[in-house]
Amino acid sequence: MCGIAGILQIDDRPVNRERLGQMIGAIRYRGPDDAGIYSHGPVGLAHARLSIIDLIGGHQPMSIAQDALAITFNGEIFNYIELRNELIAKGHRFTSSSDTEVLLHLYQEEGERCVERLNGQWAFAIWDAARQRLFLSRDRFGVRPLYYTRLDGEFLFASEIKALLTCPQVPCAIDLIGLDQLFTFWATIPPRTVFRGINQLPPGCSMVVHDEQITITPYWTLDLAGQIEHGSATDSQLAEELFELLQDATRIRLRADVPVGAYLSGGIDSTVVAALARKSAGHRIKTFSITFEASDIDESRFQHEASAFLGTSHSSIRCRHEDIVGVFSDVIWHTEQPILRTAPAPLYLLSRLAHDSGFKVVLSGEGADELFGGYDIFKETKIRQFWGRRPASRWRPLLLKRLYPYLPNIQRQSLEYLKHFFHVTPQALSGPFFSHLPRWELTARTKQFFSVSTQAELAEADAVSSLLRDLPSSYATWPLFAKAEFLESRYLLPGYILSSQGDRVAMAHAVEGRYPFLDHRVATFAARLPASLKMKVLDQKYLLKQAVKGLIPDSIRTRTKQPYRAPDGISFFRGHDEFVGDLLSSQRIKQDGVFDPRATDALVRKFRSGRETSVKDNMALTGILSTTVLLDRFMHRRGTDSRITRVQLNH
């Protein structure tokens, strides 16, 4: 895993290597083992390497065929061994045993469609000197980040926004439309980011930059249209097939020349991954967990149970309220976008634990909830759909009481209030966003803290409607369950789960996450399953649970879904609260202009009073705090961050 950056001069100026060095220096923590810069004609590529495969021969940027093709690559191609053998049979010659070189030869052999052959997680740029074009690509689910911007006469790209911002010509300002989206969906809609003029390549897309033209082409999308394509296979046959796929997905994700560990949350998904890794590796593996002081969110009992069952060597880190406050600013430096929950902060601490334990690679269970019906939003959708077919029923809405058993604010609600919150009408059932509207409406209420000027600038903005343009053409015909799965896996997964809670906080400590559930073979299999096999009545992840019988403890396999949560607003008001006092002072909020100082002050007073706070209050507080940190670290203190180092290499 690594950091990449590059410049393509569209005018005739030579590439400025010094600037390339500054760009990659800004994200050196992603790849502390090695670094390199390559320039040739109008292109400059830079690389910071975290050495995982072919520790000696995998230096980057790499070129072949007398510099006809050069690459800077962040990620892993897990099927590189099979591809390499295939390419050797076709006459390709390799000088290293790295997956990077395989990627170059595969591009040489198959051109831009080579990405369809890849099983992995990647963001890369290949300079094709003969065709004078830069080819960039990002993996199917957006595990690895890739940002770009255009200046007058040049195109810049990098793994992280801060690398682009080392160029003084790149403007640094909040994109209010992006902010509006984030305060609705918890993520921006690609290619938009919260930085004006800086875009991200959407997951599952490739991009060609040639002359003045930028062309983005999707090469893969999660097709949920069918959900019936398993013919006459029985449940047990499908469970068996799923097990085999997961086993293989995990096996190839153990390919590394360094030890591979695993995160263990205490839930089904990470336990399954750790169990499969243990099985494939054939030896004891190392696992890592987070624990919390609050018993309602702490899962240490299940973590210990899983670790004992699997015989792993286990380490955990206790995340206290003050730990969240202590790392919060650095976490935002890495997420490069506001967050509405503090959940990335404990994961930042967890990757530090993995790093300090000598691990560069960890497996984890991300993707299982999105693909196999694990999230409560799917249960919510099913209940609301059932109720919506007979809205006058007295009994159907009683099922709403079965939702979110771990949220006391929901559990203590009367049915009348639950019915209002989870509102349904027969007309709404046919709407494109039926599943997510209650959630988005709740999140969007945080925008009441936007300043008058922010609200005025956003008067024409409509985050939800803007999604309509991004939906697949057949989306309207999909079952509601499939629509909900699409919205989760297309937006929240790459935009928040895999970035703010994934790549960004892991790579802050040079740790690479690998996700067997996001192997595209597993995902494609899941996408074709009928919803009834993902959630049987209201039993979440039904088929997955069948598939892993005996692999993990039954107490974990059959436990009620406990989503990963961290203490939110309260963390900032335990003991001394100078952090909030300083960041959310009326003077600073007024100066920044994004939020309303009076409303923000009232929110802070509410938290300080110790009174009960709502879900919205917690999202608003974390959102305002993180936005203010973002403004402070990226805009007010631009160019002063001590972690930015300069890389000057003659490669």
Binding site: S414, Y417, H420, L442, S614
Partner: protein, 97 residues
């Protein structure tokens, strides 16, 4: 009472935006209080007015506007004033002060 409740709603849900709140405005329809916020209101009413809001009373008819809350509190207070009187009248003769 009306002013106290208004103040609470303005401080805790509108975060100071007084102009937005009419006494008859439905909290749910206007989005002033979301469903996860209603328990804050209940806790406030219980501690401020010494009442106990039962699960059955947790309905919009009682709590969905400033006016409805005032009516609800007054009715509860009136009930609680009557209840001890009724109870005491049923106590045996010798237990009365």
């Amino acid at each position: 009472m009306l002013q106290t409740i208004r103040r609470f709603v303005i401080d805790n849900y509108l975060f100071g935006e007084e102009g937005q709140l009419g006494d008859e405005d439905s909290f749910m329809e206007t989005g002033i209080i979301d469903s996860t916020g209603i328990l804050e209101l209940v806790r406030f009413l219980e501690t401020t007015y010494g009442i106990k809001v039962t699960d059955e009373e947790l309905i919009p008819d009682n709590l969905d506007s400033v006016s409805k809350i005032v009516s609800f509190i007054l009715a509860k207070q009136s009930d609680s004033q009557q209840t001890p009187h009724d109870c005491s009248s049923r106590l045996p003769e010798e237990t009365r002060p």
